[in-house]
Symmetry: C2
Subunit: 358 residues, 2 copies
DNA sequence: CTGAAAGCGCTTACAG
DNA sequence: CTGAAAGCGCTTACAG
């Protein structure tokens, strides 16, 4: 391992000067010296010793990847293909830019603070955090951070968030379903509960997805549905329970509605697939009797029969964007745009059939 | 942050003594002093500064998680639910034991060596490595390591590997299918290619899965099939191509065989689900006409219709075991058992139907 | 414009 | 049995 001292020796200067060049404290160094040192640095592929960096309180080049949730639909969230893909993208981008990624379990705030300070982490990427939890964490920890998919109930984002264009996704589905002959299609999504100070709080009932992705999706959907002067009632926004046992019963009762409207826009692929199976088990055919559109384009979407028509989002792109923005912040840049929306695209497969002769 | 100096001050001794106690160089310290220092250490929850540890060449408490493969079936391997779950288990176990996990992209050997030495990593967990690649890595890097699911072509393992009891899994399936009335069931698995020095090498044709998991699965399956004095020909081991386009054609040609034998044991859930869909698309009903058993019990297994009967393995347990063993090695223990097999269990769902009246 | 010196928190011969 | 001192590789006032 080549040390700063070695570089200094080669250049015939002191360590201080090398350090100054390295840290851009270049005002008080002659251009000639700078060039010489830079060249030697390059030639020798100098990399500072990590221990020293941490010890002197300088950047560790570590990015903490904080995983805020543990369970989704009863499965470990890390089984969610989403997490893995996101992590891979983040890690790859980090590597390219000379950063390292350390895993931090986000369940215990205390742990996050502990690890972040112990390792002198340069920045954090947080996933699965609610706005509330993030704010609570912020009080204890002052770190540059980019969140992924953390929506806010406020009008404006005052933290860095990377998400997708939910509104446009909903809009695309709305237009598509209308075109396919379903002007009465409904939007179905699972209720969201948010933890506030240990207690679960159900969201506002007349605005069930206040500030969350499903609100944007619904708004886009509604917009498309109303485009030709039609009206799309709020009653076409159906909120179902978070527990499968209850949800199942709700689906049961909704069957007549499903058959009548003919097409359903589900808030997630998970729910879409679950519903396809449910309908299948009840002898109802998709898409012959009911058309279904999902959201996410997860791996399963191509497995299920009928193959699922859904809104594709690039998880890898999300991870890359989050990482890139974080690094810009670390480099001292002030980002003005707080909420970056990655584009989405409707992928047409086999779960929607054109309605003829109504 | 509390430093060693602080502890020394409290105890009224020098840093050296504290360090000696901390590092177990306890011979030359009086018992009284030891006890006193230990108590103070505890009370103050002393944690050594990481930068110092790295700088002085002592343990960094970092475990490198090396991901050896990038793509499985055309998807990023990290989308494989398996990876995420494994990672979560490893990370959780690490945290409990006071270790940290750093992500290392395993594609480039050079990078692995670089990062491992730069961070003074204490050990490595490798996933998705072939035996060859691991040996190649070992030449460049001397690190304690535990591999996950890396089989060897040799008779004995000379490296630490954590896997599952593939033989028993195959055996359980064999017995089950026999009991369900399918004494002629076949085993189908995708061919495996192994990279040797940049070139892909196809495995031995008369022993297509030499040393790999599918060989164990087949052996267990065969054993069960032969239990009552029956014979199970090697011809019931069907190797299909790794490329879907080709494999599809093979399936097409095999349809009569499928219908005749009535039951198929697939080498993975992936292939099982793929085949269920293929048969579905060809108007063949599972399990009415063909029964199918998978292997892995991935998340999809419960999604697919019919729900897949398959061999369950606990990925989380695997990760935990790998981590625990690595830590024991780091602590200087010499592990005698080289290949740990986690138990597996057949999970019966709906993809196998009892054959009546043949 | 440049360098000698102190300091970050630890370990490890070595002297007592 | 215990401690003063040097060293790990870096940064940062500070003096020149």
């Amino acid at each position: 391992m080549i040390r700063m001292q070695d570089i200094a020796d080669m250049a015939g200067v002191s360590r201080t000067t090398v350090s100054n060049v390295l840290n851009g404290k270049t005002k008080r160094v002659s251009q000639e010296t700078i060039d010489k040192i830079r060249k030697i640095l390059q030639e020798n592929e100098y990399e500072p010793n990590i221990g020293s960096m941490i010890l002197t309180g300088k950047g560790s080049r570590i990015i903490g990847f904080v995983m805020g949730y543990e369970n989704v639909h009863g499965y470990s969230s890390t089984m969610d293909p989403f997490i893995g893909e996101l992590m891979a993208a983040i890690w790859q981008e980090a590597e390219e830019q000379g950063y390292y990624v350390m895993l931090i379990g986000g369940s215990a705030e205390k742990k996050v603070v502990e690890i972040a300070s112990k390792w002198n982490v340069e920045g954090l990427i947080l996933i699965g955090y609610s706005e509330e939890r993030y704010r609570s964490l912020c009080k204890k920890l002052n770190q540059k951070a980019v969140l992924v998919d953390t929506y806010t109930i406020k009008e404006e984002f005052d933290y860095q968030n990377v998400g997708i264009d939910d509104y446009d996704g909903g809009y695309q589905v709305g237009r598509y379903l209308k075109r396919m002959g379903y002007p009465d299609a409904i939007f179905i999504a699972e209720e969201t509960r948010i933890k506030v100070n240990e207690a679960e709080k159900r969201l506002d009932s007349d605005r069930p997805f206040h500030g969350l992705c499903n609100e944007y999706r619904w708004n886009g959907f509604k917009k498309a549905m109303e485009e030709d002067g039609d009206f799309c009632s709020i009653r076409r926004l159906v909120v179902v329970n978070g527990k499968w046992e209850i949800r199942k019963r709700q689906y049961q009762q909704l069957i007549p509605t499903f058959l009548k409207v003919g097409a359903l826009f589900m808030g997630s692929d998970y729910n879409a697939i679950e519903l396809i199976n449910f309908l299948h088990d009840n002898g109802i055919k998709v898409p012959e009797q009911v058309s279904i559109v999902g959201f996410d384009d997860c791996m399963y979407a191509e497995y299920i029969r009928p193959r699922l028509t859904t809104v594709h989002q690039s998880v890898a792109k999300k991870g890359q964007t989050a990482m890139r923005r974080l690094i810009r912040m670390i480099n001292g840049e002030i980002l003005t745009e707080m909420y970056v929306k990655e584009p989405v695209k409707l992928v047409i497969r086999d779960s929607v059939r054109k309605r003829t002769g109504i």
